[in-house]
Symmetry: C2
């Protein structure tokens, strides 16, 4: 069962301000909740259909945290076009102090939820667990971002900070800015650690940030497209630059 | 001015069947129409606001082909959430006989319009002008695909065919199937010609197709994500495999 107040609370979390006020976010669908249950994330409550409880609930899970709901009730709290058997209310992990890292990504103003989700999935593929975002980058707990990560969000942490300040102050890693007229990334020496900076989908990286980076790198263009999608560029650079 | 019949005709082209019946498709927005006008594509008619005519219409363009319409009329024919000054009705080019090529992509069941659009943009970036799609791959003239190409669609041609038959019969190019457990693409010799086969977002490439490919290639995974987005994988392989 789900109360009216719970419906209202869950739906309010579509709004970024409310998510940060309550420090909670919503995870939906069989695949995403499966990945959530494998992670260390703290779950407030799981709302699931009988189908999910019979077929997907792990045997060890506390029954106290699962509420059986009908498909109809699920559709009232779901943000998906086609609700998918289960929805979890999750506690936002603390992501205030950026840890030391070997490899990390930094994002300047990534606006498109699909791009951020895809970049998180790429980071997870290449074993990168830290992404440092400027405050204007789309929120990682935006439902569209979460879906696009395909579960990788539980293995990669996004830290939102003053990126310029961070890049100026950090000295332990070389920084590589992805730009349109930099050195050919395919000809650079492969590295085991470093911070790769990716810019906004149309405006690129803020000039002030570029000035404080150690290298400007580019993917060689052989045809006529003006640019590559930010996520595609991230994938190519991660595969090429990191050992 | 735009007639009721024209409104009905243009809106009908949202439907793939109608597009192929009339052999026409719709191109929208300043950037896309700008790229269209630089191409050899045959334009049936351009519907534009006074703003576009004053600021963006090239001087050489035949006035006969441009109809002035109001923002309000544009919103009646536009498929965009925010109509963007101009809409062109365009003749579908003939794409029945696949030309000889040095480098090409083959797509097996790419379903997501954003992925196909992104793959076309990647092809254009790497100077690849031929994409061979199986019949179940999303239609290139789908409005969401077109928008995602950012104009690259006018420099890259998609040919829809029986892909298995094509791969069996063609012998002039080596074929490289992108799979999850193939040879490390980073360790392969770079090539100047070849056909790269990319599979469906969740099911991968049909086994029957893989059997007829010369090489199975993979992007080495260092972390935990189960897969990469089809477009991201295409970008990485194009950058790594092609000289």
């Amino acid at each position: 069962m789900i109360s009216k107040a719970q419906v209202k609370h869950i739906r309010s979390l579509d709004d970024k301000k409310k998510r940060y006020e309550y420090k909670q976010f919503v995870v939906e669908g069989i695949k995403m909740v499966d990945e959530l249950l494998k992670s260390q994330y703290e779950i407030v409550e799981i709302f699931a259909t009988q189908y999910w409880i019979s077929n997907h609930a792990p045997s060890g899970i506390s029954k106290l945290k699962i509420s059986l709901i009908t498909e109809q009730s699920l559709s009232r709290i779901s943000g998906l076009k086609t609700p998918n058997e289960v929805l979890a209310l999750v506690v936002m992990p603390d992501a205030t102090s950026i840890p030391n890292f070997d490899k990390a990504l930094a994002l300047d103003n990534i606006q498109d939820p699909g791009n951020l989700g895809s970049i998180i999935r790429i980071a997870d593929w290449f074993g990168i667990s830290t992404i440092i975002c400027n405050a204007q980058t789309v929120d990682v707990y935006n439902p569209k971002v979460l879906q696009a990560t395909m579960g990788s969000v539980f293995r990669v942490t996004c830290y939102y900070t003053d990126l310029l300040n961070y890049i100026i102050q950090q000295t332990s890693n070389k920084t590589y800015a992805a730009v349109l007229n930099g050195s050919n990334v395919n000809e650079m020496e492969k590295i085991t650690n470093g911070l790769i900076l990716i810019g906004n989908e149309s405006a690129g990286i803020d000039e002030k940030l570029i000035q404080h980076c150690d290298f400007e790198i580019s993917i060689p263009q052989k045809g006529n497209a003006e640019s590559l999608n930010a996520a595609v560029a991230t994938g190519i650079i991660c595969n090429t630059l990191f050992k």
